[in-house]
């Protein structure tokens, strides 16, 4: 990873102060609460849920790639592990949803850590291909181990999460799409908060040091291996959580949903949004989830547009949406300052 990959990162001093940040979080929470009221049809609510899931996948990946500098092309594998582990526990062994969820998240996290341990000496493109190979193997296992995963036959009729019963309130059913959105978006927000805290803490600085120059970091006494494994574990655990929600939302599980192409789409979301920031992947995930839906009217051309969009961003605005936004704001500020008082017609 080089600095050229992050042209848009703000210097530490420019990042928002703690008090301001709390307002942003409140705003985000309010936005989440209001969205289902604007989008009342089930088609758009479905899209909102998919957005929330993709946000989780993207920020998890960005933590690994953008912050720890580990080129991970295997995010689809962790997504799939979370989905299959939790679903199989629920449907085969009758494990209650939230325990199964926990297991799914833990196992994905462990898988991520194992991959990282295995690949600990690998860098750059080797790591990329190793993670890709891992993703292919996981996909093939899901596909071929029919006795356990049902393989291409698929698992159908997966129930949504069980209703939440808070004493004094009516039960919250998750068959209701608005409620399911609140659940997934709520988790996405929690994941974001977690990562944000990590990034701003000394851990974040450690990861940055490892990303920029691993040799120097090691000479400072940093245990690079341990931190890389940690970052991988966190990012993959979040992907696992996304997988659990995916399964209970779609109701159908087939191995092809976790083909390696998914890894690429998630990476695209990170890049288009702005790698190395946290808000970037959120924007990228939302944009790249909503864009194909909005473009459905164009029919066959929509995926072409998708591909072209990714290329254009990379070529002309590598910092993604975050960079574009920052440049626009900076440009506006400059213009405002430059306008002389009482300018003529």
């Amino acid at each position: 990873m080089s600095d050229a990959d992050f042209p848009h990162r703000l210097p530490a001093a420019a990042r928002a102060a703690p008090a301001a940040r709390r307002w942003w979080y409140l705003l985000a929470a309010i936005a989440i609460a209001l969205l289902p009221m604007f989008f009342t049809d089930s088609y758009w609510r479905t899209n909102l849920i998919v957005c929330a899931i993709n946000v989780m996948l993207a920020i998890g990946l960005d933590f690994i790639v953008g912050y720890a500098g580990q080129l991970n092309l295997g995010q689809s594998a962790f997504y799939g592990i979370g989905a299959y582990v939790s679903t199989l526990l629920i449907m085969r062994l009758g494990v209650p949803f939230w325990w199964a969820f926990l297991c799914g998240v833990l196992l994905s996290g462990i898988a991520g850590m194992l991959l990282s341990l295995f690949a600990v000496r690998l860098r750059g493109h080797y790591l990329a291909i190793a993670s890709l190979g891992f993703a292919v193997i996981i996909h093939q296992i899901l596909l071929n181990w029919i006795s356990v995963t049902q393989g291409p036959l698929g698992i159908y009729g997966i129930a949504p999460p069980p209703p939440l019963r808070i004493p004094g309130l009516p039960a919250i059913e998750f068959g209701n799409l608005a409620n399911l959105f609140y659940l997934t978006a709520g988790f996405a927000l929690l994941a974001y908060l977690l990562l944000d805290q990590l990034v701003r803490s000394p851990i974040g600085e450690t990861l940055t040091a490892i990303r920029e120059d691993e040799v120097s970091a090691a000479s400072l006494g940093i245990n690079c291996q341990a931190w890389k494994v940690f970052a991988f574990g966190v990012g993959s655990a979040i992907a696992g959580a996304a997988g659990c929600f995916y399964a209970s939302f779609v109701g159908t599980l087939v191995p092809d949903a976790f083909f390696i192409v998914e890894s690429f789409t998630i990476l695209a979301m990170v890049i288009v949004g702005g790698m190395g920031t946290l808000i970037g992947p959120v924007c990228g995930a939302i944009l790249l989830t909503v864009l194909p839906e909005l473009l459905r009217g164009i029919g066959d051309l929509r995926l072409i547009v998708y591909g072209v969009a990714v290329m254009l961003v990379v070529l002309f605005m590598p910092g993604g949406i975050v960079e574009a936004a920052r440049l626009t704001v900076a440009g506006l500020r400059a213009r405002l300052r430059a306008a002389p008082a009482g300018a003529g017609p």
């Binding site: 990959d5 190979g133 066959d300 072409i304």
Partner: protein, 293 residues
Amino acid sequence: MLTVVLQQGINGIVVGSLYVLVALGLTLIYGVLVQINFAHADIVTLGAFAAYFFVHLFGGNYLLSIAVALAVGGALGWVMNAGIFAPLRERGSELLPLIATIGASIMLENAMLAWFGPIPYAFETPYSNHVIRVAGMFFTMQSVLIIVVSTTTIGLLYGFMKFTFLGKALRAVSQDRETAGLMGINPNKLIMLTFVIASALAGMAGAMLGPVLVLTPFAGTSVIVKAFAIVIIGGFGNVEGTIIAGLLVGLIESYTTQFLEPGLIDIVVFALLLLTLAVRPTGLVAEKREENV
């Protein structure tokens, strides 16, 4: 039984040599540029379609269509380098070209889908159904052609890399770009040449794969993931290694099909990949390369 084992060996080498052609392009690009071109698969597919239309639409000779595909591939390589890799190289970015090629791949596949449609094309050549039977085994002329063309091409490429000035210059650039520049070699021109050669190889592979594969816009993707594995197992940038690894993967395919299940092919190949990475990440065939893995 012996016949079957021998036959599968030949099948493996035929398939393997096609994989080698595809993987060689990837390894050449990586060797010189330390970059992966994810759209390489689509160059293969486009080469196949170019050859198909040359034969079936314009009534051209099949052997000539291989040359056509070669040219188409080379042209595409030129475009990709000029459009994606060169501009991004100036910025010094490592990861972004990869993403750009992913975008390019999505765009190309869907553009092909829009132009050519999703229905598989039946690419017939005068050789694909001409069967020769010898000693209880069978070969199609197409497979003979594949072996002849692949071997010749690989041999030519190998000779080029080892014995000509341009080839040596290429290897110099891949080892140390700055020093090569200081020696009077223009790295940018050489990188362009590499791209063109690599993509031309891919196009040619496409023309020969066309009659063998199920020809749809997604035909290349079925090959590319294995090509990546081959490149790693053989060693990034290592031409001999890629050749050996490619043939090895081809043989793994046919013997796994014979003695296990076709469905297990990918698992065996990728387990080998991970094993290579664990034990000897620079590739199974050693080359004197200083590289920070």
